[in-house]
Symmetry: C2
Subunit: 348 residues, 2 copies
């Protein structure tokens, strides 16, 4: 287990590592209401598709603490409101909605229980989903291992490590598995503007893990792939459509274009809960736009003139044709994705 803990349940509170303060300060916040959890997801105290999914179900568990009766005038009304609040915190990642749906199905199905038992059941499923996430990431790493050469130079975007999950990580988990399996690993880490998750979080995690790397600006990827050895690109995912289009942190599509131009394999890495077969293609995935201040200020200091107009999409869509394979806990999925993705989402 990793020394730092992205999120954990403290009996009556959800404890989050405050990722906005890394790498300078390793500090935790304890949240006791669903409103606090929704705000922590929105302001990116916790981030990463798998981590916000699990944070949200703990948020529902917190909401049940404040419910005095299941069979109120409008049954389950309070919990449904809590679920709506959490769902709206960030629209692009589907893991959030997937996790909430799972808990809400149990809440509805078990509504005939006494209040305390009903509460316990929802908390138990939250705890189970947290444990599953770690196991899922381990399996993802092992499934990826046959794709990794003995000497492997990775290119990595954003943060997909222990900090983006309950523990271990997805795309960074693949790098970690390769390192732990004795592969000779080197990683180009792009800084990932505007929030600098690569510079602040991934670089820090790689230091903790003792994996050699170099931090680079986002615009250097094509140059590096043209002039240096790069064996593969591994990125995370926030939602995978039925046709294999992938929503992920803005900049991912640029990296995919650079990889294609240099015939470098490009892998999208994530749990099957990221696959949304009800979304036909990337066109149907909502792309969150965030505030201008993320670009116009750094550490609160303005870097642009006042009133500089900004367009700040937080994610992009990488079309399926640029993706070599999708690495999941069930297995590695190759094109054609429309035919092959259903086999991992509903394995037979």
């Amino acid at each position: 287990m990793t020394a730092y803990r992205t999120l954990s349940w403290q009996g009556n509170a959800l404890r989050l590592l405050d990722q906005r303060r890394l790498p300078g300060t390793l500090t935790y916040v304890d949240l006791t209401t669903v409103e606090e959890v929704a705000e922590a997801i929105r302001n990116m105290t916790v981030r990463g598709a798998p981590a916000i999914g699990v944070a949200a179900v703990y948020g529902l568990a917190l909401a049940t603490q404040h419910i005095v009766a299941i069979r109120s005038s409008s049954p389950l009304n309070d919990l449904t409101q809590a679920a709506t609040l959490l769902r709206q915190a960030r629209p692009t990642a589907v893991n959030l909605a997937w996790a909430i749906d799972r808990v809400m199905r149990l809440a509805l199905a078990s509504a005939s229980l006494p209040l305390a038992e009903w509460r316990d059941g929802l908390l138990a499923v939250a705890e189970r989903m947290a444990a599953e996430d770690v196991e899922t990431n381990r399996r993802i790493g092992l499934n990826a291992l046959p794709l990794i050469p003995q000497k492997a130079v990775f290119y990595h975007h954003c943060n997909t490590g222990a900090l983006a999950t309950v523990d271990y990580g997805t795309a960074l988990g693949v790098i970690r598995t390769a390192h732990e399996a004795g592969r000779q690993v080197f990683v180009y880490v792009d800084e990932t503007r505007p929030r600098l998750q690569g510079a602040r979080l991934t670089a820090w995690e790689l230091q903790q893990l003792g994996i050699p790397f170099a931090l680079v600006v986002d615009g250097a990827s094509a140059h590096i792939m043209r002039t240096k050895r790069v064996d593969l690109v591994t990125v995370g995912c926030d939602r995978i459509a039925a046709n294999g289009d992938v929503a992920n942190k803005v900049g991912t599509f640029n990296l995919a274009l650079a990889a294609r131009a240099h015939a470098i394999p490009f892998y999208s890495v994530g749990p099957t809960s990221t696959i949304d077969l009800s979304t036909q293609s990337g066109e149907d995935i909502p792309i969150e736009e965030r505030e201008a201040g993320e670009i116009t200020t750094i550490e609160g200091i303005p870097i642009t003139a006042p009133n500089t107009p900004v367009f700040n999409p937080a994610f992009d869509i990488t079309p399926a044709e640029y993706i070599t394979a999708i690495i999941t806990e069930i297995g590695v999925v190759y094109p054609p994705f429309t035919a092959n993705l259903p086999w991992v989402v509903h394995p037979t």
Copy 2:
């Protein structure tokens, strides 16, 4: 003429707008020695291939002020040393070497003159090159005009405006010409990490010019080209090889890949002094690597953990095959560049 002045001669000093302090502070520094000029080029007080070329020749003019005799024990020795110092300040842009060579040829050819007349001659050619740069940029803009639709959405990288030249600008000069000619112009300006020339300089210049724009992160280009209207990409250049490969600010090649994937014309814009027929291809262009602090700190504040390893190439090479045309003051050059570039460098 633009209200702010990138560089100007003040009788016995070179006055530079300190671009490191924009957009917060509009301030100038006066330099009186060649060492100060070399340092100002290195630390990017002045930047942009055309601007550093002209700054360098003024640097030579300053060096002559301290020369007491041309026919010293080693004739022209002091000036040759000054030229070497300036040449080494930044290795990638060829305009610097081109400008220095032109002045040194005159210095050598006119070495039989009395000292004062020799000095005057070198200063006169520096003044002439500064004036030529502005005229060149105007011609570049006019040559580009037939390529610009009535409603034109540009994508622009780094800074190529008045601040990158003596006045008016190259790629940004094209946008300015289109705006002044009544075209309905909109510009996506990428911030251009690590030095943020797009966010700090280009956004500021567009505000001064009243041209509408949106500032975006470098990683957003492929997403924007996939989901929004973009009519053309215009970028500057630091050196163009004989085969049409272009060295320019890191991130340019990524932008070219995104443009190609979306069938958007990609124009490299610059004076013919940027074309270096003695360099066969991009492989032969030296790519400057700059210090880690440009990536690990912003405004002096660390954004990464201590001892984070960094790879910081300042430029990249965009292969000729990705370039729709090269826009110069002589005309628009289309592929095949190996055949067509000599016609603008040595027009018949």
